[in-house]
């Protein structure tokens, strides 16, 4: 952890000082460019700006979360990500990884906020509880909301790490007792990058932060504020089981032959077709695998309200606002049955109530039939 008094080194200087070679550095730049989906001519640009820009001050806040985002980040593929960007050099404040603690830590944060007002990046991991005056999550005597608003005030941009900060995640699932709230609902006047996922892929996190520090601006975002480079496609669009899906070959249970043969997990509740993420291409644990490859359907962890949107292991549509049993098709079938019954009753009632009218028409028709002439 750096002290705030020394002159800010460039990323390159920090990397070299850590004992990496220039070759490692160039490999790292290439690697990041690839993840960000940039063309190879951009590698030079990344390297150049990492060489010349002094490192950006970063404050990393933890609120209602499980730290899986940090865990994911420090396990990302390239060692430089964890070593340089995250823990040793770049972070001015992060509860989990910093050496300082208590008053010392808070002092470091205050100093960064003052000294680099308008320059630092605020990373937020976790949602912010608004219920009961925010008392469900307090750090250093302040509620999460106070602490967040204070840090957001002077931030250049905010990165919402993970589904907690982006969507509220599990603690915002119904009935959301603490009123866990994603950060974009609390601060509106700052650029916010949402990087959802529970956790987001480490390489994605690295890609986002390197983009910000290397180019000094936000990556291209989609309408939900997610970086397009990583969230433009559904998991389903890059899933290696997709040919089975298109063929209509599905695993019916987790232990049938189809599952063993690697058929599509759609009928076992895979949410890949509705989930925007890079799991199918970047994968997890240094590209080893991802849930579907390991035989488990996608649960849609990077989508808003994924906890409340139907069962994980079934293809069913839940009616929002109803309890466990509220599956749209069941309700629909019952309603259609009731409706059909109602129509049958109406038909009988019509025959009874309108019998005079009917009979008169029928009689007229019959007598006319008798009188047909030609």
């Amino acid at each position: 952890m750096s002290t705030n008094n020394e002159k800010r080194k460039t990323y390159y200087e920090s990397i070299i000082k850590q004992g990496y070679s220039r070759r490692d550095f160039m490999k790292f730049s290439t690697y990041m460019a690839a993840f960000m989906g940039l063309e190879s001519s951009m590698v030079g640009q990344i390297a150049q700006s990492l060489e010349n820009t002094p490192r950006m001050p970063v404050i990393w806040e933890h609120y209602q979360e499980c730290t899986c985002c940090s865990e994911s980040f420090i396990r990302s593929d390239h060692p430089i990500v964890a070593d340089i960007i995250l823990d040793r050099i770049s972070l001015d404040y992060t509860l989990t990884l910093m050496a300082a603690s208590g008053h010392q830590a808070e002092a470091a944060k205050q100093e960064t906020m003052k000294k680099y007002k308008g320059e630092y990046i605020l990373c937020v991991e976790g949602s912010i509880p608004l219920g009961d005056d925010g008392n469900y999550c307090c750090i250093a005597g302040k509620t999460a909301k106070e602490s967040f608003l204070e840090a957001a005030e002077g931030a250049k941009a905010i990165i919402a790490w993970g589904s907690c900060a982006s969507n509220g995640c599990v603690q915002a699932a119904k009935p959301n007792p603490t009123e866990a709230t994603p950060i974009h609902k609390i601060v509106k006047n700052k650029p916010i990058i949402r990087v959802p996922g529970c956790p987001p892929i480490g390489e994605v996190m690295a890609g986002v932060i390197v983009h910000v520090v290397a180019f000094g601006r936000l990556p291209e975002l989609d309408r939900l504020g997610r970086p397009k480079a990583f969230y433009a496609k559904r998991v389903h669009d890059s899933c290696y089981r997709r040919p089975y899906y298109d063929a209509g070959l599905f695993a019916e249970t987790f232990d049938d032959k189809n599952a063993k043969d690697g058929y599509c997990l759609y009928k076992l509740g895979c949410k890949g077709p509705m989930t925007y993420n890079s799991c199918g291409t970047i994968k997890w644990n240094n590209g080893v695998s991802y849930p579907i490859q390991s035989g488990h359907g996608c649960i849609g962890c990077s989508e808003a309200n994924f906890w409340d949107n139907g069962p994980f292991y079934e293809r069913a549509t839940k009616v929002p606002g109803l309890t466990e049993e509220g599956l749209a098709d069941d309700i629909g079938k019952v309603a259609a049955g009731v409706l059909a019954g109602g129509l049958a009753v109406h038909a009988v009632a019509a025959n009874i109530s309108k019998r005079k009218e009917l009979m008169s028409r029928i009689n007229r028709g019959k007598s006319n039939e008798k009188n047909i002439d030609s």
């Binding site: 939900l224 669009d237 063929a247 070959l249 309200n305 994924f306 549509t317």
Partner: protein, 242 residues
């Protein structure tokens, strides 16, 4: 015994009928394929995925039918400004005294099955009655919801600008999950509507015997001569004689 002369009236012009029947087909196809997509049946095949494209074909049919559904609806909206009085948007305008009088009348006589003391021929709608127009307006908006949610879900798979026009829908609901749920539930509303719609058409034909069913094929209804202008009688003859 009363006798009446009936006159042939073109009520549903060809574009209206084309819209109606293509729409029927599209809704049936969309619903069936929609159910299959929502919950595909187990395929009894030992073929390799390379040689099969079953689900892809079902989806293709769904998307094609969706485009057809969309385009006939545009045709119908166009015709609401160019068609006859029964097709016109004015026939659907709910905010008039006449409309609500008819509405209560239909509710009393056809839904709650009361009998009238004195029958007024003017209460018999030649085109849509007011309850029907209201239900079509509601269905029109549900159809818009289906189109918007459907194309929004489809947009990311498409390179065409038309589906992409609807990609703003997803962020409103925070993601595909909610959009898909709305799409699925709205489909049930189409099913409920169809049940009631078909029943009431049969009901009118059965009770009133005015050719409600066949009018949607041939376009004609037969209207009591007393409801036409006097001059029309002769005019009609002239045409027939020619």
């Amino acid at each position: 015994m009363e006798t009446r002369n009936f006159k042939r009236v073109m009520v549903w012009e060809l574009p209206v009928r084309i819209f109606h029947w293509i729409n029927v087909l599209a809704i049936i196809v969309l619903t069936v394929t929609g159910f299959l997509i929502a919950n595909p049946p187990a395929l009894l095949s030992s073929a390799e995925a390379t040689n099969l494209h079953t689900f892809g074909i079902i989806r293709f049919i769904h998307f094609t039918a969706a485009y057809i559904f969309f385009f006939v609806m545009i045709l119908r909206v166009y015709w609401a400004f160019n068609g006859n009085q029964f097709a016109s948007w004015r026939a659907f305008w709910p905010f008039s005294k006449k409309n609500w009088n008819n509405f209560w009348h239909v509710l009393k006589i056809d839904i709650f099955l009361l009998n009238e003391e004195k029958r007024n021929v003017k209460n018999i709608s030649i085109g849509h009655n007011s309850v029907a127009t209201l239900s079509y307006l509601v269905m029109f908006f549900i159809a818009l919801i289906q189109i918007a949610t459907g194309f929004a879900l489809y947009a990311d798979m498409s390179g065409w600008w038309l589906p992409k026009l609807f990609s703003w829908v997803i962020p409103i609901f925070g993601g595909d999950f909610m959009v898909r749920t709305i799409h699925h539930i709205s489909m049930w509303l189409f099913i409920f509507f169809s049940m009631v719609h078909i029943y009431l058409v049969f009901y009118h034909d059965y009770i009133e015997g005015r050719g409600e069913v066949s009018s949607m094929f041939g376009g004609f209804k037969f209207v009591s001569e007393t409801r036409l202008k006097k001059a029309a009688k002769f005019h009609d003859k002239e045409i027939e004689e020619k």
